[in-house]
């Protein structure tokens, strides 16, 4: 059944939701990257929680005007207005009081959300309120998505992607070095506002599918995951979009396989799985790679130290060192060097002297930066450079 869902064979509604979620995930991953890199991740949580009273008030307003209150465009418009209000409140609190941004976020988030919950309770008591299903905006749902709803999500998501990619260069410049951006005349405040506007749009558009409580995960988990894989900001942006899209697509497909599975939490769990896998396996920042690197390095350190000890006729203290030397055929079990071992030991000692000379010579700064105590010097210098170092060693009186 999951396979059916993944290949969009679960019927019209599930197909709409799955595709919509995938696109939303892509847009959220892309725009979330800028938020994350600007160290503003939590602000999106305030924005999303601030949508709730807007949804409820929009419903009440539409009912009061004689509609049935459930029109998605109306509800989303309401949510956008109150999200914007929440954002402005956070900004105003930070600017005009001594509150830090995190305190301001906490205050706005809880007050808006609390107010929204009160309104939802009131709506429950109304005759039109019971089937309204506004609670589904909390955690998202795949039930009863209309073609028009899907279009809103697709259109909103696409617009966000276009704007985010259009402005990625100034966004990244501001995120990396806001003072420099300001000195170069970039409109930093306006760029920040635009970035928050994109996040707001994602939140509003994503309400239906992931719900307001968890949309923050869609914005933040993908960039955090992507960051594990690369040190280049432009690649973080794209990877984050891809991770977000896959998690949302798969998550929505899973939730379509059973009637009561809420979409938002499943998507979040899927993206968490992607995160954990990345944390373990990513090549440079992953835990496994780091551990392997450390073990390899440790071995090389032991071997090098062992060789230096052999060369200078010092005893070998550590078991691991001896074991590694014996395994390489450079020492016997009692710690005496083999002929082979003597050769390598002499080389290690000569390299050591060269490194020492190199590190005091400014011309070799970049090479010296590679110094880790174990590297053979011919892996970083050309033979000409080594000859030059040797000349220097010969010149310096011992």
């Amino acid at each position: 059944m999951l396979v059916d869902a993944l290949f969009l064979q679960m019927g019209y509604n599930a197909t709409l939701v799955t595709l919509g979620a995938g696109l939303l995930g892509f847009a959220a991953g892309i725009s979330g990257t800028f938020l994350f890199l600007r160290n503003r991740a939590l602000l999106s949580d305030a924005i999303s929680h601030a949508t709730l009273p807007g949804v409820a008030l929009a419903f009440l307003l539409m009912v009061a005007l004689g509609g049935d209150g459930r029109s998605l465009p109306g509800l989303l418009a309401g949510s956008a207005v109150s999200a914007l209000l929440g954002l402005l409140c956070v900004n105003a609190l930070v600017r005009h009081t001594r509150l830090n941004e995190d305190a301001a976020i906490g205050a706005v988030l809880s007050v808006f959300f609390g107010f929204g919950v009160v309104l939802l309770t009131v709506i429950q008591t109304l005759p039109q309120g019971r089937q309204a299903g506004l609670e589904s905006f909390l955690l998202g749902s795949t039930a009863a998505m209309l073609w028009a709803d899907a279009l809103i999500i697709a259109g909103g998501g696409a617009a966000v992607v276009v704007l985010a990619l259009l402005f990625r260069r100034p966004f990244l410049l501001v995120a990396f070095d806001a003072a420099y951006a300001r000195a170069r005349g970039l409109p930093v405040a306006r760029l920040d506002l635009l970035m928050m506007g994109l996040v707001m749009a994602i939140t509003v558009v994503g309400l239906k599918i992931v719900g307001l409580i968890l949309v923050v995960a869609l914005l933040i988990v993908p960039p955090v995951t992507a960051r594990l894989w690369t040190d280049v900001a432009a690649r973080v942006v794209w990877l984050s979009g891809i991770f977000g899209a896959s998690a949302a697509y798969v998550g929505a497909a899973i939730s379509a396989t059973a009637p009561d599975l809420p979409t938002g939490p499943i998507i979040v769990l899927v993206s968490f799985v992607v995160f954990v896998v990345s944390l373990l396996l990513a090549p440079s920042r992953g835990v496994l790679a780091a551990w392997l690197r450390y073990r390899r390095f440790q071995k090389r350190i032991h071997i090098r130290q062992g060789l230096l000890a052999l060369a200078q006729g010092h005893p070998i203290y550590e078991r691991l060192t001896l074991r590694l030397l014996v395994a390489a055929g450079w020492a016997r079990g009692d710690g005496v060097a083999t002929d082979d071992g003597m050769g390598y030991a002499a080389r290690a000692l000569r390299d050591e002297a060269r490194w020492t000379a190199l590190r005091t010579d400014n011309r070799f700064e970049a090479a010296a930066a590679m110094y880790d105590g174990v590297r053979d010097i011919d892996t970083v210098l050309t033979s000409d450079q080594i000859a030059e170092i040797d000349r220097r060693i010969a010149e310096t009186p011992a």
């Binding site: 890199l37 160290n39 259009l166 402005f167 260069r169 100034p170 990244l172 410049l173 995120a175 990396f176 070095d177 806001a178 003072a179 420099y180 300001r182 000195a183 170069r184 005349g185 970039l186 960051r227 690369t230 040190d231 280049v232 900001a233 690649r235 973080v236 400014n362 700064e365 970049a366 090479a367 930066a369």
Partner: protein, 265 residues
């Protein structure tokens, strides 16, 4: 006995197109002015040092010139026009870059940031951009670090990367806030060579500088500041015992002042 020698209004003061001219500038944090009603004029194609004790307002002066801090009063003209018209001709290296050191950016990406104006929103980074950025890196001796993540450099190396970014901007007026802080002697020599190279190309270089013993070697002009302007003019004329006393008050040991002002008799 404290006689403050204000340099005579030199003829460049009137230069309408001076690279930088500051009139009556006051910048205040809260109610406490960090820079009070100062006038300075930079002369084209020269190296000027801004000198004064800690907290004298040197960094603040540069930030106000760049519009990073808002001035309470005063006028700043860059090449005879408003800064907004001339921004592309001004490059700035801050005292301490306030960046996120874990940011996913390599050394070469930082330098390419200097080409922001040229690349625009969507322009692709092409080979000649890369070559140019590499050239700027090699001018500060950092070409072999281009692939490093920026946080994996020492403080002095980071400093040079930001200098390379400023070079990439290809500006006419360079404002540097203590580029020699925390760098070793060899690096300092390398940076000075770069700055003198800029000067030789006719560009104007203004540097906040703390080391009074190298002032004469490196700079043509000096601005002495201690919240207020103390003096400005050619180093030879302005760098005198009286002016130093007026700038530093009791902060310089008498022996130090004696030595410095006697340095080249």
């Amino acid at each position: 006995m404290l006689r403050v020698v204000q340099s005579q209004a030199n003829d460049t003061t009137a230069d309408p197109a001076a690279p930088l001219s500051i009139r009556g500038l006051t910048v205040s944090y809260g109610q406490k002015p960090a820079v009070f009603s100062v006038d300075f004029t930079a002369r084209a194609g020269r190296m000027t040092a801004i000198v004064g004790p800690n907290g004298a307002g040197k960094s603040t002066l540069l930030k106000a010139v760049l519009g990073i801090e808002t001035a309470v009063a005063g006028q700043v003209r860059v090449f005879g026009a408003d800064l907004s018209m001339q921004r592309h001709r001004v490059a700035y290296v801050p005292q301490r870059a306030s960046v996120d050191w874990d940011f996913p950016t390599r050394v070469i990406d930082v330098v390419l940031g200097g080409l922001y104006r040229e690349l625009g929103l969507l322009g692709r980074v092409r080979k000649h951009h890369m070559d140019y950025a590499r050239d700027c890196l090699s001018r500060v001796g950092m070409e072999e670090f281009e692939g490093r993540q920026i946080g994996q450099l020492s403080g002095g190396q980071q400093q040079r990367v930001f200098l390379a970014r400023a070079l990439a901007q290809n500006a006419d007026l360079y404002l540097l806030d203590e580029p020699f802080a925390g760098v070793d002697a060899a690096t300092e020599r390398a940076i000075v060579a770069v700055l003198k190279g800029l000067k030789a190309e006719g560009r104007t270089v203004i540097v906040v500088h703390h080391d009074l013993s190298t002032l004469r070697d490196y700079f043509d002009d000096v601005w002495l500041i201690s919240t207020r302007r103390v003096a400005e003019g050619p180093v030879k004329e302005v760098f005198t015992e009286a002016n130093l006393r007026a700038t530093y008050g009791g902060r310089l040991a008498p022996a130090q002042i004696d030595m410095l002002s006697r340095q080249d008799g």
